[in-house]
Symmetry: C2
Subunit: 331 residues, 2 copies
């Protein structure tokens, strides 16, 4: 099968290596920001982020629309590894040539739609493409380095074409559960960054001996994610599987969003921490995710989210950490 991957960062490139190992003919298209990723690869050096040498993968630079057309036209499966900041622009450029094939996307987040309302990415992409985008969201705990190195990974592909994508990419170490619940899977992926930041706050606020509080917040996060998912037409089962419980576990255990939360928990202002981490090359998706999740819930009148409210209060409204976390009550 001819597979075209959009985005040559961590996850796009990891999925390209998976597709190539499954015997597909793979084209890896880098965005206009991805030259530093593709240039070394084209010199036969390791990918700068994945630290792996790629072979048998055609690379295409994203500055020229004609190149994008060439990469997309023959594709039988499109994989999107662009982050939520870039996906709308990539899809706008790709729209004239996008074949009517499934788009498997690892992009996590919630975007503003044309009516300026927070919405799931598949619906926003549908607006941009002007048709059913045949969008499949790839959720679940999948760090790119480990996917590329064949560490056991369990993903949840969600959408009407999920099984097609699973058949194309699943293997012995990449387990895939296909589901129709795209609402549940996308929301889990978007929400977990917000909640992981909140779980991390305890490390900063209490210190290492905050296991109980972190675990309580983990359980509460799952309950609140379920509330949001079910109110948005998704299924609780998705929250209780790899997409929810699994992905929140890995996000809360390690990584930038937890580190971001830890510094905020120590009393540093969120805006300053986000700025400093960004300057150090660490994108803290949790920062924006907290605001978008809060807006998403508010626009739909979803209530009963005390943990999200507390996280938003501290991160976006300058709320006092001790007072806000001290007033939390669950269950």
């Amino acid at each position: 099968m001819r597979v075209t991957v959009l985005g040559a960062g961590y996850m796009g490139t990891a999925m390209a290596t998976v597709a190539q190992k499954r015997g597909h003919e793979v084209t890896l298209w880098g965005t206009w920001l991805d030259d530093p990723m593709l240039d070394p690869v084209e010199r036969g050096e390791p990918h700068p982020r994945l630290k792996l040498t790629l072979s048998g993968i055609t690379t295409v630079h994203g500055h020229d629309v004609a190149e994008l057309e060439k990469a997309l036209r023959p594709a039988e499966l499109v994989v999107c590894g662009v982050n939520s900041d870039g996906i709308a622009e990539v899809m706008r450029r790709a729209a004239p040539f996008m074949p009517n094939v499934p788009i498997l996307s690892v992009t996590k987040g919630i975007l503003e739609n044309s009516a300026k309302k927070m919405e799931r990415i598949d619906l926003v992409i549908g607006e941009i493409l002007g048709r059913d985008p045949r969008y499949v969201h790839a959720a679940g705990p999948a760090k790119a380095m480990e996917v590329a190195r064949d560490v056991l990974t369990w993903m949840c592909f969600a959408g009407p074409d999920a099984r097609f994508c699973a058949d194309a990419l699943a293997g012995k170490t990449l387990l895939v559960t296909p589901t129709n619940d795209i609402a549940g899977a996308e929301l889990c992926s978007a929400l977990k960054n917000a909640y992981a930041t909140g779980i991390g706050m305890w490390d900063g606020f209490v210190g290492a001996e905050s296991h109980n509080a972190r675990a309580a917040s983990f359980a509460q996060a799952i309950a609140e994610m379920r509330t949001i998912v079910v109110a948005s037409g998704g299924s609780a089962d998705t929250v209780h599987g790899a997409a929810g419980v699994g992905d929140l576990h890995v996000t809360a255990a390690a990584g930038r969003n937890r580190a971001f939360g830890e510094r905020i928990g120590r009393g540093e202002p969120a805006e300053k921490v986000a700025r400093e981490m960004l300057a150090a090359g660490l994108l803290t998706e949790g920062y924006a995710a907290i605001a978008t999740a809060t807006r998403f819930a508010a626009e739909r009148g979803i209530t009963g989210l005390p943990l999200l409210a507390a996280i938003n209060e501290i991160v976006w409204r300058g709320g006092d950490v001790a007072k806000t976390l001290g007033a939390l009550t669950f269950g």
Copy 2:
């Protein structure tokens, strides 16, 4: 209220401090093994495990049955902090004097009943007391050190008297969700030690870059715990709350059972690791929990537990780590 706590180890003593802070009249009865805990406390020194000085708590040593009678007769609430190895013997000694009041127990595990079948602790205690034991199980992520230090903790009390116990002990930093689902709560507490050992194996087998595999196993553990709980008359909701998702999170994040799994994942024989850890004062509850969970499921014909089967194969049947973990498939 007069509260008598049985067992002066970590968790019994922590619950005694909670009861004392709530204004109850607390008697802390140590088992025949607990002199090293009570002697320093009686000299006004900190409790050797909790590292806290207790005040206003009456201590009683457990060698003399008359003392046990004196401690139990006036109790309006009994709290049991004895571990699963000791609870049957403590209840046998206590049976003649046990008042007909709720017994709130943090004891985690599955015991052999009089028919030599693996059974929930509340049912085994009912056999020993010869009546409805008014047993309430306290589940959820609750490290004793943190409970005693008022770190936010969320527990699930399960049984017909759960609300009575919650009213007696819950507070601003000890949140309690009462439920009738004693089957679900007890099984979650017993199973999480088994599964945490399995999740820890990945750290030893793959190394630090095993986030995906650990998170996949975490999600699968929740799925398998749900299978066992529902097949045993419990509720999936319990698994998805503090008792299941929350407690598995804290157990898998840190602690002895995870460390036990990590060494097994590196290829060390489980029996040797358990022996060495025990000699170092570290009881690895996961070791026995894997066997009892496997027996519990087998005796009830519960199938569809590939992760538990793999853990049991490696830990109790000498199965090869790479081969067994490599053959795992979820979803």
